[in-house]
């Protein structure tokens, strides 16, 4: 099964593909839900996001790894965000449920 695979692929609206660490991507409850049931994404390990362009998805993927790398550290430097991407990234954060509120039903 794709479950066992260490990496998953994120696909943007304009066809760019980003291979990210599964554990890193799971910071997003949206992706977590996507991968835990029996939907297509869970079986193929490919998640397509028609709402987001490659530029945005790249930043999202970068954030996943940024979070994964620094999750146990303190005094972490801020991630660099280009000003022109700010608005769309806020949207993406909302979509990916990255608002740091723990999901009500997240299994411990």
């Amino acid at each position: 099964m794709a479950d066992a695979c260490k990496y998953i692929t994120l696909v943007s609206s304009d066809g760019y593909e980003f291979v990210v660490l599964r554990d890193a991507a799971l910071v997003s409850p949206t992706i977590k839900g996507m991968l835990r049931s029996q939907f297509t994404e869970a079986q193929t390990g490919r998640c397509t996001f028609p709402e987001f362009s490659g530029v945005v998805l790249e930043k999202v993927a970068e954030y996943f790894h940024y979070w994964h790398r620094n999750r146990d550290r303190e005094d972490v430097p801020d991630m660099e965000i280009p000003v022109e991407l700010c608005l769309v990234l806020v949207q993406a954060a909302d979509y990916f449920n990255l608002d740091a509120r723990p999901s009500l039903r997240d299994p411990a």
Partner: protein, 779 residues
């Protein structure tokens, strides 16, 4: 607005299709992202409420159309009447099959529902996280999962209920089947534990309301109380049955097994949340309810467990009782009673033994001790018998103690509460026995005197240990002190035991009872040591003087401080108080020696008085028996030299015969007149050297077993002994049980001492009060 509404319907259509697919297990064709985006859009368009309601309505509809018919099928009329009315129907096997089939149906419905609801909640994640959280409604998951409770468990299934004649819901059947299965398993059937576990965990996942309060799980609010109630009934019946049909030993094991089973059951079939509660039910019903009845069971109850050393039974019993009662009162009471009974048995046995084995010619048990005074020389006199009784008593007590120590270690985990209870009972029965102080001292006396020669350190250690153990129990310690002092004095003066062991024992007594208790004993040891030096120095002194006595008398002397030593030893026997103390007449040679020593003694210590105590010492005498004319062969044909060890009085008496012409004799009164030895002592002394064949250096006329005032004594020229060294039995060193009179005397003296102590204490208290009052007056 219109645009927004028009966007809702297409999105909802996508979602509705997906919900159907999910229920039909066709989700693998669906894209999560697609569905998520649909619900995401709806929520962004502020249609969250509408979506929430649509989903809920969809699920209710789904239940009504697809799920309920399946459930109704499961609930056959038969099942209802059998399970809910407990109608006598098919065999247990069929009943189990039927119940399990029903539960399986419930389980698979639940599993489907649960999986679907999880997936749907995942799709609606954005709704859950934004809209539901803000609108303070139950989450969509809670609302939809709760449908199972409202539409299935709480469904009354109209037609079936009419059949029954009273209202019921599906939940009732679930509970009844679960309890029925559990009871079957308790009776030894094999049931599908996994199934039971899955159904109960379903109950754990469901809550009374959609708010999902942690303590409102259906498992806790509905099932557990029913389960506990049913278990109570089950175990109450079982306990009564055990009481009727089984014995305590079976009961113990059964209860232990049941407790284990119930704990296992909570782990494997129910929930660990119940472990504590069900354990409590079993404890109450199987242990507490009939505890006393089981403990009192004839032949298998606690009495028999103790008597027959059934360690395993007692261990289990201890574990069980510890569960229900931290102070273990039931166990404590029975233990204490049993200790008392067995302790008093020892006393009874003792009496019985005395009566059953009387020695031929010995007096009856009552005045055995007095009789012993006169029949000293008998091989096993009544006194010796009494001593044996004392030792038997001590041995029995120690054995009993060992027994209960074993119980404590093996069965009761050295429980302090029980240990102290048992110790209390021991102390109680030991002190009920009026002679315990004396017997304990006698036991020590006997062990130290006889037993320790050639024994290993471990054996010595055991004896010391025993002595201290017994000592701890004694309440009348002053009585013991009195007896011990007397016995110790005899041992020391007659060199009967090994000094280092004596000292070790006293050292332990001191650490056990304090300095005050052993002060006299230590004083006695000190006297012994000083005396040894003194005797040595004196010997050197004499040798330096150069005028050694021609008779070569070696003087071994014990200078005793009168306070430390018992009055009897110091020659102040109250029995003779009336006549005052009479000094016996020492032979001139001895007299000279005494004066010489006294002079030497006073050189360093002026103002002291030495009193010679004839009754306490002993003497080694070299004596020669001339060859007997007319005997050509055998030992009597040559001169024989023997070394004779006698008491001081014996020596004085024998010296008389030194000066007596051959063939002449002295009678008792003559001897008494010449020596002024007290009559009683003289009887003993003469008895020891004229009655036992091994030390019969004086011939007595007539030859009888007792010494009478009219008897005549002469030098026994025919005396023969196989050994060179002969020891005349020294009567006074045989510690024996006191006669009734003696004991009364001892008690009287003891009471006197106590009176002084009490007086002193009163005066002290008065002084304290007086000082306070005075202080206040001064203010």
């Amino acid at each position: 607005m219109n645009k927004e509404a028009s966007e809702f319907e297409p999105c909802w259509d996508i979602l509705r299709g997906a919900l159907t697919d999910i229920h039909n297990k066709n989700a693998s064709q669906l894209s999560f992202e697609n569905l998520y985006r649909a619900s995401y859009k709806i929520v962004l368009r502020k249609k969250g409420q509408l979506l929430y309601e649509r989903v809920k309505a969809f699920e209710e509809e789904w239940f009504r159309v697809h799920v309920l018919p399946r459930i109704a099928e499961l609930v056959s009329g038969n099942l209802v009447s059998i399970v809910l009315l407990q109608m006598q129907g098919p065999s247990a096997h069929e009943r189990r099959e039927m119940g399990e089939r029903f539960l399986r149906g419930i389980r698979s419905t639940w599993e489907d529902h649960n999986t679907s609801m999880n997936m749907i909640a995942d799709i609606l994640m954005y709704l859950e996280r934004t809209y539901t959280a803000e609108s303070k409604q139950p989450s969509i998951f809670a609302a939809t999962i709760g449908l199972f409770r409202d539409h299935i468990l709480r469904n009354s299934l109209g037609s079936a209920a009419e059949q029954l004649g009273r209202p019921f819901i599906v939940f009732d059947i679930v509970n009844a089947v679960l309890l029925d299965l559990i009871n079957m398993e308790r009776d030894g059937d094999i049931i599908d534990r996994n199934l039971v576990r899955q159904v109960t965990s379903m109950l754990e996942d469901l809550y009374e309301t959609d708010e999902e309060f942690e303590n409102m799980k259906l498992y806790l609010t509905v099932f557990e109380p029913l389960f506990l109630k049913a278990s109570e009934v089950f175990y109450r019946n079982e306990c009564e049955k055990l009481l009727r049909e089984a014995n305590a030993s079976t009961w113990l094991r059964h209860t232990q097994r049941r407790l284990r089973e119930e704990q296992d059951r909570c782990g494997t079939s129910l929930s660990i949340l119940t472990t504590e509660n069900i354990t409590h039910v079993v404890e109450q019903e199987l242990i507490v309810a009939k505890l006393d009845d089981f403990l009192a069971m004839e032949g298998s109850g606690m009495k028999s467990m103790i008597d027959n050393d059934r360690h395993e039974d007692l261990s289990i019993l201890y574990q069980l009782i510890s569960r229900v009662d931290k102070s273990k009162n039931a166990l404590k009471t029975v233990l204490q009673t049993r200790v008392m009974e067995l302790g008093l048995d020892i006393e009874q046995t003792l009496k019985h033994t005395d009566f059953s084995a009387p020695l031929a010619g010995a007096a009856e048990a009552d005045d055995a001790a007095e009789g012993a005074e006169k029949s000293k020389a008998q091989p096993l006199s009544a006194a010796a018998q009494q001593t044996a009784a004392a030792i038997k008593w001590v041995d029995d007590v120690l054995q009993l103690k060992d027994k209960f120590d074993d119980l404590s270690t093996i069965c009761f985990g050295q429980d302090l509460v029980l240990q102290s209870a048992v110790t209390k009972s021991f102390s109680e029965f030991i002190n009920l026995f009026s002679r315990s102080s004396e017997f304990v001292s006698l036991f020590i006396d006997d062990s130290l005197k006889r037993g320790l020669k050639g024994k290993s350190d471990e054996d010595v250690e055991i004896v010391l240990q025993k002595a201290i153990v017994l000592l701890r129990y004694l309440v009348d310690r002053d009585m013991f002190e009195r007896y011990y002092q007397k016995h110790l004095a005899r041992r020391l003066l007659h060199n009967k035991s090994e000094m280092h062991i004596e000292k070790e024992l006293v050292r332990r007594m001191r650490s056990e009872m304090g300095n005050h208790f052993t002060a006299k004993f230590e004083g006695m040891f000190k006297d012994m040591e000083l005396s040894k030096d003194l005797a040595g120095n004196y010997r050197d002194h004499i040798r330096n003087l150069g005028d050694e006595d021609t008779r070569k008398i070696e003087l071994g002397i014990h200078v005793l401080t009168s306070n430390n030593w018992p009055p009897e030893v110091m020659g102040r026997n109250p029995a003779q108080e009336g006549g005052g103390r009479v000094d016996c007449v020492f032979p001139p040679t001895i007299k000279r020696l005494q004066e010489s020593f006294f002079k030497y003694y006073l050189k360093d210590r002026s103002g002291r008085i030495l009193t010679w105590v004839g009754s306490a010492g002993s003497a080694d005498i070299q004596c020669s028996f001339p060859k007997v004319p007319g005997k050509g062969t055998g030992p009597m044909s040559k001169e024989r030299r023997y070394e004779l060890n006698v008491s001081t009085y014996g020596m004085i008496v024998l010296m008389l015969f030194n000066d007596l012409p051959e063939g002449e004799s002295l009678n008792f009164e003559e001897i008494q007149a010449k020596t002024s030895i007290p009559a009683q002592e003289l009887v003993r002394t003469l008895g020891s050297i004229s009655i036992p064949p091994r030390s019969r250096v004086l011939a007595k006329e007539p030859l009888s077993k007792n010494v009478r005032a009219t008897d005549r004594f002469s030098f026994n020229a025919q005396f023969v002994s196989k050994t060179i060294k002969i020891k005349a039995p020294v009567i006074s060193s045989t510690s024996k049980v006191e006669g009734d009179d003696e004991r009364r005397e001892t008690e009287r003296k003891n009471d006197q001492t106590r009176a002084h102590v009490v007086d002193a204490a009163i005066v002290r208290i008065m002084n304290v009060i007086g000082v306070r009052a005075g202080g206040r007056g001064g203010q």
